[in-house]
Symmetry: C2
Subunit: 122 residues, 2 copies
């Protein structure tokens, strides 16, 4: 064990304020965007999805794309998350603009998880 270990991220846990703003790449190393925030189920304390800011040019015109948590894999080499998703899959996914945030209800959660083929317990 070294004193220089980054304790805000262990092999098990990651700090919320480290997730927000983290870059997201596809498997080819192409930067897709960054994590805007993530939505936590109040009762269970489970992250239902992380919200990717994606699209637009230099951040202008980008939209928000909720991604099921387990589509994200942290790659310490790249210093960001890698998602095994094509631009085409993302572009057809549920998304919203900052000014038109949806109600994050169970129906919306189902739509998001269904798009990515991830099971949803609700």
């Amino acid at each position: 064990m070294s004193d220089s270990i980054a304790t805000d991220e262990t092999t098990r846990l990651i700090a919320s304020n480290k997730v927000d703003g983290t870059a997201v790449y596809n498997p080819d190393g192409e930067r897709l965007g960054s994590i805007h925030n993530f939505m936590v189920n109040k009762r269970t304390g489970t992250v239902e999805y992380a919200v990717l800011q994606f699209g637009g040019i230099l951040g202008f015109g980008s939209d928000y794309y909720p991604l099921p948590w387990n589509t994200l894999n942290y790659d310490s080499g790249q210093g960001g998350y890698v998602v095994n998703l094509s631009r085409e899959t993302l572009e057809s996914a549920p998304h919203y603009q900052a000014t038109e945030e949806p109600v994050h209800d169970i129906d919306y959660g189902r739509r998001v998880h269904s798009h990515y083929g991830v099971s949803y317990p609700y």
Copy 2:
């Protein structure tokens, strides 16, 4: 349904960037501190604990107190979390200074949950 609904917080979900900085009160309405961040289990996407910044004077000298997620209840009236914990319970709880963050391993998680009498699945 109203257009003015706060969609960054539904009855089910709360946004990560809304949790950080939120005030924490005891049941008497006394302000104990605020949420610094929270630690998410990378594999399961579950919040293991929220970290309360508590103690000191006007934020100086305050320490970080990890609280199991389900000790926190959001009170929309107060605009913050209410924890049913006395100052004495908090003061004797596991805590750390910003410069001495612990390794957030399973042993630490067990200590935190055990102090508050909350079961821990690991």
